[in-house]
Structure formats: structure tokens, C-alpha cells
């Protein structure tokens, strides 16, 4: 079918090529045909592995599996492979069917059991009813030959993944207590087979990132909570909820964005208001912003908490009561200053303002946590008339169990964006300020961004308040985090905050900035972000030998270049 000159070229090429190169060409051409795209997509062969993304999951009791898995992840990263390192106790079981390259390091306990943290995973893969047909996998089993059921858990995982339709690309390796050499050799084998299996299908999916056009207007999602955990340990003064949410349709967002959540009022309070006022809960009503029954509106649309004084003035005008200037809840108003009749109350309802959406910085990354959006919500406590009150929204979300639904939309934050992948970033995010930083780190980990990352985090106590500790530790051990500076304010006599740690690292911090790093601050505006900014100015002054004005100008320039961004509240 080919004309002579073309045939000669191809025969020459074929004869001079290795088997791997031939396989690559085969895949490349078939990729071209299937995609119908032109040559722009050729990626020159690099010495690094062609598989770009793998998952390394470990189940550990003594820490050995974790250690081995971490070493593997570091090795893989050096080869340019994005290796997601995850402990099996944190692993999302639903992700299994999406895995393409999945490597498990797992130890065996006592009577052939998996480590406690890996039990759920172990049981899950023993339940049939799902397939892992795209999975290529390998298992490294750690054990102790002095036990009769040596490496049993690893064996089981290896067998089950095969039964579930996975393709074993490296044989099971069992290791005794002196596991180092065997484990290393096994992973070298993995890396080799990744190279080989990768060339089979180079049909490069690399497409220029399409800038998705944002639809005009807000897009509302119906969110479902899939995880809701209080990250603070017993004995903490804080309650910080890590909430994972999915929606009926793909959620479009970027690291740095916020989730706008519209909380519902407490049903019990709504019912009490209805009972006190005698209003018909089923009465259809239309306010400025919404339409529905009284009960629906009171639950989902109308703000009944901590009313503005302007709203209270209106209430006073409608009901004819003398009400001193204070911020009260609707329930307190109807108790202390009752409405005359239901029609007066309907008038009140129409005068009330809608529930304001609350913005939470997103703590997940679209690339690392596909199909999900995570937020990090601190239970907001404040005093009203010397009485402790909880923020409506944080209490709402904190108390919302898994499988519950709520409405949200994505609030774009174009002033809090990651720089180019090769640029360094400095993240200062104490408390819930960690949220967008977790998003950044997860994103940079998942995409293999080469820039350096430095995180400053602070909270009250190391033991109870180190938000996302195990994830941060993993990023540190795999090198995603280049530097980590921590400040736990109440673990010692003197209070230590993130800005004190910045001062301590002043010289290095300034080096990073001079070398082009972007700075991000997230968390409370007052006093944290101000203290941090003042500290930054001091550091610029001292380290850069600048006057106060020059330092201000320097920081302003960073701001103008998009290298100093804040997400504070």
C-alpha cells in the first residue's frame, strides 16, 4: 500500500529500532489515528518513565510499610512519576475502580491479619460486586517468617485484586523482617515494568489545557456530604470539621476558590417560631428573593439568627413594640415582643433578609480529589450578651452527617491562584487558613509541579490541633513540601505564632522571595494577617537593607505581580 520511498523509510526505521521503540511507534500511530490529531502532540522520549501517575498505598502497624512506601514514592518522583502516597486507612475505597497503576505495601499481623488501619480496605476487596479492570497492580508483602501465616495479608490482597479483574504487572514479593533489599529490588522491578507497560500506550492524551468557559451566573450544586470529621482531637479547645462533598454533576473549580454554602436554620427553632406565632406552616408565601411555604422559607431562605438592627427596627415598626437597639434572634423577638396575629407575622417574614451564603476556602484539589470538593470549617463560637453562641453555618455543617444534602456554588477567587508549576510558593496558613494551602499542595503533588513549597502552619496544641497532620507529613517525606515551619502557641510558656517562625527563618524566607517565590496568606484577617504582613515587611527591611518605605514598595510590587495574595476573613 505504501509507495516505494515511504516503504523504505519505514523499513529502515523498523530495522534500526529496538523492540520498545517499535511498541512506542505502534501505540503512537494508533493514537494518532484514533485522535485524528496532528503531530503537535509528539512528546520526545525522555529517560524517565512514561507512566506519569501511580498510587502507592500502604497498610502499616509498626511503621515499616509506611517507611517502605514513602521511599518508593520518593524514588518514583525522582523518575518524574507523580506518585500518590496514601495510607490505606485514608484510602477512598470508591477510587479503586478508577486506579490505573496501584501498588500496595502491606504487612501481616498475628494470625495472618492485615494491620488494623487496612482492615476496611481488606474487607472491601473481599466483597465482590465491583471490578478494577483498568488497574495494573503489584503487591509487596511485609511479614515475619517466624509466624506460620507469613505475609498472608499481602498474599490475599494480591489474589483479590487479580480476582477483581486487575492486571498483575509485577509478581508478589514477600519480605521477612530484613525487608530492605527485597523491597528495593521489587520496586526497581515495578519501575522497569512501568516503563515497559507505558510504551504500549503512548497515545498521548496530552491536550492543551482547555480553559473552560465559565457559565454566566452562579451554578448551584446539590451537594452530598460523604465525609465529615472533626479534625481536632479530644481535649482541644477547637472543633474544625473536614467536610468532603460530592455533587450530582462535575464540580468545576480551581485551587484557591471558595465554596459558598447556604446553611439551613434549625428545624426545632423554626417549629417553635411557628408554634409561638400560630402561623400556618403550609402557607405559600413570596418574599423578595424566594417563594415557598412558610416552613420552607423559614428553614432554607430567611435569616432568623442574630438579626441586624435595621431588621429589628422594622420589626418594631410592624409590631408597634419599643425595642432597644440590640441584635437578637427572631425567636427571642417573638417571645419578648409577640406579634399581634399571623398576618402581622407574615408581614415580618417579608421584611426579613435572606440567609447569607457563607464562603469557605476549598481545601481540595480537582486533580487530587477528583469529583469531590473539601472544606475545612471551624466551629465558630462567639459571645452575645455574655452567652456563648455558635455560628449558624459552622454549626450547621459541623452537625450535618454523611449523606445529607445542601446547596452550594463555587465562588471564584482569581486573586488566590497558584503560579506556574516551576515557581516556588510560600504558604502562611495557620488555623483554617490551612484550607487553600492543602488545596495547593494536593494540586502540586498531583500534577508533579516542580516548584518548591514552604508551609507555615500554626494552631494551639501540637497533639490535638495539627490539622491534616498525616497528609502534611506525607508531603514532607515525599519532598512535595520543601520546608515546613510549625508554631503551636500554647505548648510552652511563651506564645509562639507563625510570624515568630517567619522571623526565625528570615534569611531563607527572603532568599525564596528574591528567587521569585509567591507568598500566600490565609486565615483570620485580624490579627494574624496583619501581624504576618508586618513581619514580612520587617524581614524585607532587615534582609534587604531597605527603609520602611522601600519595604512597602517592595511588597506592593509583589502584590502587583500577583506574588503576594491573601485569602483572609
Amino acid at each position: 500500500m505504501l509507495a516505494e520511498p515511504k516503504l523504505k523509510i519505514i523499513l529502515d526505521l523498523v530495522q534500526s529500532s529496538t523492540k520498545e521503540e517499535l511498541i512506542w511507534m505502534n501505540g503512537y500511530i494508533s493514537g494518532l489515528i484514533n485522535n485524528g490529531k496532528n503531530q503537535e502532540q509528539i512528546v520526545p522520549a525522555s529517560p524517565s518513565s512514561a507512566v506519569k501517575k501511580i498510587t502507592i498505598a500502604y497498610g502499616t502497624e509498626t511503621g515499616n510499610s509506611k517507611k517502605v512506601a514513602t521511599e518508593f514514592a520518593v524514588k518514583a518522583k525522582k523518575k518524574g512519576i507523580v506518585a500518590k502516597l496514601v495510607s490505606l486507612d485514608q484510602y477512598k475505597l470508591n477510587d479503586l475502580s478508577k486506579e490505573e497503576y496501584f501498588f500496595t505495601v502491606i504487612s501481616t499481623q498475628g494470625e495472618g491479619e492485615p494491620p488494623v488501619g487496612a482492615k476496611k480496605f481488606y474487607e472491601h476487596i473481599h466483597n465482590n460486586g465491583f471490578k478494577v479492570s483498568q488497574m495494573k497492580y503489584g503487591v509487596l508483602a511485609l511479614g515475619d517468617t517466624s509466624y506460620p501465616l507469613y505475609c498472608k495479608a499481602g498474599e490475599d490482597v494480591d489474589i483479590q485484586l487479580d480476582k477483581l479483574g486487575g492486571q498483575r504487572i509485577v509478581p508478589l514479593q514477600k519480605c521477612d523482617v530484613d525487608f530492605e533489599q527485597d523491597a528495593d529490588a521489587w520496586f526497581d522491578h515495578v519501575l522497569k515494568s512501568l516503563n515497559e507497560s507505558a510504551v504500549v500506550a503512548p497515545a498521548v492524551k496530552i491536550q492543551p489545557a482547555v480553559e473552560t468557559k465559565k457559565a454566566a451566573g452562579k451554578k448551584y450544586y446539590n451537594g452530598t456530604i460523604i465525609t465529615n470529621v472533626n479534625l481536632n482531637d479530644r481535649g482541644s479547645n477547637k472543633q474544625t470539621y473536614h467536610v468532603e462533598v460530592t455533587a450530582d454533576e462535575p464540580i468545576e473549580y480551581e485551587p484557591g476558590d471558595a465554596l459558598a454554602l447556604i446553611p439551613f436554620n434549625k428545624i426545632a427553632v423554626v417549629k417553635e417560631i411557628i408554634a409561638l406565632t400560630g402561623v400556618d406552616p403550609a402557607l405559600e408565601l413570596e418574599t423578595a428573593k424566594a417563594k415557598g411555604t412558610v416552613e420552607e422559607l423559614l428553614t432554607k431562605n430567611i435569616n432568623i439568627c442574630y438579626l441586624l438592627s435595621s431588621v429589628i427596627k422594622k420589626y418594631a415598626a410592624i409590631t408597634g413594640h419599643q425595642i432597644p437597639d440590640a441584635r437578637l434572634d427572631l425567636i427571642e423577638l417573638v417571645k419578648k415582643y409577640p406579634v399581634k396575629d399571623t398576618s402581622q407575622f407574615v408581614e415580618v417574614l417579608k421584611s426579613l433578609t435572606p440567609i447569607a451564603p457563607r464562603l469557605y476556602s476549598i481545601s481540595s484539589s480537582p486533580n487530587a480529589h477528583s469529583g469531590e470538593v473539601h472544606i475545612t470549617v471551624s466551629l465558630n463560637r462567639f459571645l452575645v450578651n455574655n452567652e456563648e453562641r455558635l455560628g449558624l453555618c459552622s454549626e450547621f455543617i459541623g452537625g450535618l452527617p454523611v449523606d445529607n444534602n445542601f446547596t452550594f456554588y463555587i465562588h471564584k477567587n482569581r486573586n488566590f491562584r497558584l503560579p506556574a508549576p516551576e515557581k516556588d510558593i510560600i504558604m502562611i496558613g495557620p488555623g483554617t487558613g490551612i484550607a487553600p494551602m492543602r488545596s495547593f499542595l494536593a494540586e502540586r503533588d498531583a500534577t508533579g509541579a516542580s516548584g518548591r513549597n514552604w508551609l507555615f502552619f500554626g494552631e494551639q496544641h501540637f497533639v490535638a490541633d495539627f490539622l491534616y497532620q498525616t497528609e502534611i507529613q506525607n508531603w514532607l517525606s515525599t519532598g512535595v513540601l520543601t520546608e515546613l515551619s510549625l508554631a503551636f502557641s500554647r505548648d510552652q510558656q511563651e506564645k509562639i505564632y507563625v510570624q515568630h517562625k517567619m522571623k526565625k527563618e528570615a534569611a531563607e524566607l527572603f532568599n525564596w522571595i528574591e528567587a521569585g517565590a509567591s507568598i500566600y496568606i490565609s486565615g483570620t484577617k485580624d490579627p494574624m494577617s496583619k501581624d504576618v504582613e508586618n513581619t514580612l515587611l520587617e524581614i524585607i527591611q532587615e534582609q534587604g537593607n531597605k527603609s520602611a518605605d522601600e519595604a512597602n514598595a517592595y511588597l506592593k510590587k509583589l502584590k502587583d505581580e500577583g506574588r503576594y495574595e491573601k485569602d483572609v476573613y
Partner: protein
């Protein structure tokens, strides 16, 4: 397998540790974790500490994305288990400030504190050092705390014999100054050459090493469970010397037939202090040179001895000491339990042995033991001595002060608890196990007291309430609670399940044997009920449960 010819990973860590320093200093500075770096976990033991974590909290903290709740257990080096009241006060304060608050008396006569966070370790060691206490070599592959009969009234030679515990401890102390550098921020004054350790060299011992001393007729030190046991030979009110026993050790591994508990074999008698110490030293060097360094489960002296054979071992020892020890002298033990209550020693001093259930000094529903000892220490009128049965002796009280101390013991309920506890409870020993011990398969000290409460009525039912049956429980087969050297041993196999061992003798001269496997509480109680029923009906006069159960169920099976 071929790997077994290689050194175990711990051996490599020891050699590379620069005199047990490793990267401990750096580990302490790691802010992101409450743990120390992995190789340092092995090294920190030589400094008297274990890194542990609260196992009750693992799963909950995992879901919170928090690492395990790491903390450290610090064990003091107290040869012979003796403290002045000033030191007791210091420990009391340290326990309140840095640890869980409970002062744990161990089965090797010392004190350990649990739950010390990494950031609190240095302040703890500093506070101990201020009263000249240390934790050097309290754990690790070295000679551990040397034990000895605790009660001075047992022999007028007690002070003389007890002094050997300290002498042996000093003789076998590692030479490295790493402890002072790492924990007490002392300058590296000593040049490396000064740390040359002729005994331990750079690899230390293949495994832990334990030495105990007994003064017959009392064996409360459980002398034959040690790598080296010294049995004092007293004739005509004079210390003649010591019988030397070697190769004891109780740890084994479930399902691993090549591991086993073993009592020490008496190999000879030495008559002078010089010869005794020389013999001990050279036994340690034999273990250093011949012990298995590839498989830590085969590394204790008992395996070295059995592999060489007793005669070859003795020949090697003679070669190293340059003399032949004499034939062992006859000796006899008559009891292993503690003598509770007041006793008087030959020098006219009074000693009150108080029952501290499983060695946990704390204030609870039974007695305000912790406050009581604190108040007693404040008077400065009593020393504190610890027994290998995890009890506390308020010791060395002069006649004039006895009433005052007695009143305090009464005020805080210590006397009442000691006096009212049943014979079987007074003879219990339990290891720590959950929630901090990483090796535990089942509960021990948190569970044994309630199990005893359920066993007591069974004994009473068969009229055995006054029997001193020795019951011991360990959460794993490693034997910290010496469960294989009990008349009834419960050895954890999995959470809530225990192997039941019976047939050990009352004096510590015969180990027990496995009788039933994997019993839960209901099965434990029904089995024990059956055993006691038969024992009550068929025992000979004066026959102990240990001897009876051996004859009845173990010997011929």
C-alpha cells in the same frame, strides 16, 4: 534461610550509632511529629526509654488525620529498687507534670513513667538528674536493672548482699556519654577515646541482659528467670559467696517452636567478690561474642547456652576468668511472695510492705496510695523499696517514727487495702500491656484486677480462699509479668483471649505449661472452676496448686 547469616537491622543501627547517639538530637527537633526517627527508636531504649503510642486512640486519630499519639515511657535505673524520700518526692512531681501521673512499679523493682510527650522528655530527664537519678541502660541490649530481694528484714546480711546489685550495675554500665549530651545538653567533653567500651564495644549485646540476686530462703526476686542469677550462700551468719546460675529468660513467640521460656541452670559457686564479679563479667563477654546477632528471637543467653551446651559454656567461661568455680552449694527456697505488713530487721528498723495492685501507684477507689506515699516521703522518715512483685516497702523506719508512718498508711487506706485483699490478689503480677505497650496482644494490668474479682468467689466456693496461688498475666508471650513462672499464667494471644498455663511451682523452680488455648473470659472462669474443684477434692495435705496441677494435668501429658 540465608538472611539469617546477616546481621539483624538493629545490629546495624547499633554499630552506626556513634556511641548510641544516632540522630536523637535531630529527632527531638523534628516538629512535625511526636515520634523520633526510626533507627533512633532502637537507640532510645539504651537511654531507658521506649517510644510508644496510645493504642486505644489509634483508629480515632487516624480518621482525624492525626498521627498516632506518640509518647515515651521512661524507666529508671534503680539497682535493687531503692529510693530515698527526696527522690520519691521528685518522681512524684515529675509524674504529675510530664506523664500520665501514675507511678508504675515494674517487675524488676524499678519505676517507669508513661505518656511523656517528646517535648517533655528532656525536662523529665533533667528533673531526674537533679536528684541524681538516671535511666541509662534501663532498656536496650545491655545489662538492665539488677534485682535483689527487697525486704531488709529477710536477712541481717541484706545490706551486704543488696550492695552487689549496685556494684554489678556499675560494672556493666555502658561507657558512652551520649546520655548526658543528648538529654542534659552537656558539652561533648569526653573525647571519643575516653568512651572506649571494652565490654560492649560498638555492638553492645545481642539482646537484653538481666541479672538478679536471691537471698534464700526467699525467692521474691524470681532469680532463675534471669540471664544470670546469683543465689547468696549464707553459712554461720556469714556470706560465703554465690551460686551462679545462667541462661534464664521467659520470652517466647506464639507459633515459633524454636523459642521457649527457660529457667537458669546453676553452674558453679564463687566465694569472693572479685571472683563473682569477674565471673559475671565474663559470662557477659561470652554472650557478647557467641550470641546470635542475626535473629533477635534467638539472641538471649539461654539460646547461646543451649547451642553451646552447658559443659562447653563452662569451659569457655573458665578460659576467660582464668579460674574454675567451685561446685554449687546446696540451697533451698521456701517462698516467693512478699511479706506484707510490718516486719523488723536485725538492725532494729521497721519496714511496711504495702500491696500495690500490679504496681500502679495512683489514687483510686481502693486507696489513696499515691498521696499516701507522697505524705510519707514528706516526713523524710522512711525510704522506699520496691519488690519484684510490684509492691512498695515503706522502709528503714526507726522505732520512734513507726506510729507516725503507720497512721499515714492508715489515713490513706493503704493498710486497709493491703490487709483486706485476698491471698490470690496479693500474689498477682501483671505487665503493662494495653494501652501503651506496642507488643501487647491482649490486656493485662487493666484487666487482671477484675478477673481476680471473678476468680475469688470460685476459690471461696471450694474453701481455697487462703491459698497463696500465684496468678500472673501478660499481654503477650514476652514475659515482663513472668507469667510462665506462675502457678497459673494467662498469656494474651489476641484481644480478649488468653492461653492458660498451669503447673508451675510456687517457689519459681519449675515453669508452667500450656493447658488450654485462646480462652475468653467465660471459658477462663469455667476452666478455673473445674481445676479448683478437682484440686480441692484431690490435693494432698499441704500440696500447692502448682504441684498438684503439674502432677494431675501436665506431667503425664
Amino acid at each position: 534461610m540465608s538472611e539469617k547469616n546477616n546481621l539483624s537491622p538493629i545490629e546495624k543501627i547499633k554499630v552506626a550509632s556513634k556511641g548510641l547517639r544516632g540522630t536523637l538530637k535531630e529527632s527531638l527537633l523534628d516538629e512535625h511529629t511526636g515520634a523520633i526517627r526510626e533507627p533512633d527508636e532502637a537507640l532510645v531504649k539504651f537511654h531507658g526509654m521506649y517510644q510508644q503510642d496510645d493504642r486505644d486512640r489509634r483508629e480515632e486519630r487516624e480518621t482525624k488525620k492525626l498521627e498516632r499519639l506518640y509518647s515515651f515511657m521512661i524507666r529508671l535505673r534503680l539497682p535493687g529498687g531503692f529510693l530515698t524520700p527526696e527522690r520519691w518526692l521528685a518522681i512524684h512531681h515529675v509524674a504529675g507534670e510530664h506523664s500520665t501521673g501514675v507511678i508504675k512499679i515494674t517487675t524488676r523493682q524499678t519505676i517507669q513513667l508513661h505518656g511523656i510527650l517528646k517535648s517533655h522528655v528532656k525536662p523529665t530527664i533533667k528533673a531526674f538528674n537533679d536528684v541524681s537519678l538516671d535511666s541509662i541502660a534501663a532498656c536496650g541490649d545491655v545489662n538492665r536493672v539488677v534485682t535483689c530481694n527487697a525486704l531488709p528484714s529477710q536477712s541481717h546480711l541484706h545490706p551486704q548482699i543488696h550492695a552487689y546489685a549496685d556494684k554489678i550495675s556499675q560494672l556493666l554500665l555502658p561507657k558512652t556519654k551520649a546520655y548526658y549530651e543528648i538529654w542534659l545538653d552537656e558539652e561533648l567533653v569526653a573525647e571519643k577515646a575516653d568512651e572506649t567500651d571494652a565490654l560492649y564495644r560498638d555492638r553492645y549485646l545481642p539482646r537484653k541482659f538481666k541479672i538478679g540476686i536471691a537471698i534464700p530462703p526467699n525467692n521474691d526476686a524470681d532469680v532463675l528467670i534471669n540471664d544470670i542469677g546469683l543465689i547468696a550462700i549464707v553459712e554461720n551468719n556469714e556470706l560465703k559467696g554465690f551460686n551462679i546460675a545462667v541462661g534464664g529468660g521467659l520470652s517466647f513467640t506464639h507459633g515459633n517452636e524454636s523459642t521457649y521460656p527457660r529457667l537458669a541452670t546453676v553452674i558453679g559457686f564463687t566465694d569472693t567478690e572479685e571472683k563473682t564479679l569477674k565471673t559475671i563479667y565474663e559470662i557477659v563477654t561470652i554472650q557478647r561474642d557467641f550470641g546470635n546477632r542475626s535473629d533477635r528471637k534467638q539472641a538471649r543467653l539461654k539460646y547461646t547456652l543451649d547451642k553451646m551446651g552447658v559443659e562447653a559454656f563452662k569451659a569457655e567461661l573458665d578460659k576467660r576468668t582464668g579460674f574454675k568455680p567451685e561446685e554449687p552449694k546446696p540451697f533451698a527456697f521456701s517462698q516467693r511472695k512478699d511479706e506484707y505488713g510490718w516486719t523488723k530487721s536485725a538492725d532494729g528498723l521497721w519496714h511496711y510492705t504495702a500491696f500495690v495492685e500490679n504496681g500502679r501507684v495512683t489514687d483510686d477507689a481502693n486507696a489513696a496510695t499515691k498521696t499516701g506515699f507522697y505524705e510519707i516521703a514528706k516526713t523524710s522518715k522512711a525510704n522506699f523499696r520496691f519488690t519484684c512483685n510490684q509492691n512498695v516497702i515503706v522502709a528503714d523506719v526507726i522505732e520512734e517514727d513507726k506510729a507516725e508512718i503507720d497512721a499515714l498508711l492508715t489515713q490513706f487506706g493503704i493498710k486497709q487495702f493491703t490487709g483486706s485483699s485476698s491471698a490470690v490478689r496479693l500474689n498477682t503480677v501483671a505487665c503493662v500491656a494495653f494501652n501503651t505497650c506496642g507488643l501487647a496482644l491482649a490486656e493485662a494490668q487493666r484487666y487482671l484486677p477484675t478477673l481476680i474479682t471473678k476468680i475469688e468467689p470460685i476459690l471461696n466456693k471450694y474453701g481455697l480462699g487462703d491459698e497463696d496461688v500465684i496468678i500472673r498475666m501478660t499481654g503477650c508471650p514476652n514475659g515482663c509479668g513472668r507469667s510462665t513462672a506462675a502457678e497459673i499464667g494467662f498469656i494474651g494471644t489476641a484481644y480478649g483471649l488468653y492461653n492458660l498455663h498451669i503447673g508451675g511451682d510456687r517457689l519459681g523452680l519449675r515453669l508452667n505449661k500450656k493447658y488450654k488455648e485462646n480462652l475468653d473470659e467465660a471459658n477462663i472462669l469455667s476452666t478455673v472452676d473445674e481445676l479448683f474443684k478437682v484440686f480441692a477434692a484431690e490435693k494432698n495435705t499441704g500440696e500447692t496448686f502448682g504441684d498438684f496441677s503439674y502432677r494431675k494435668w501436665i506431667q503425664n501429658n
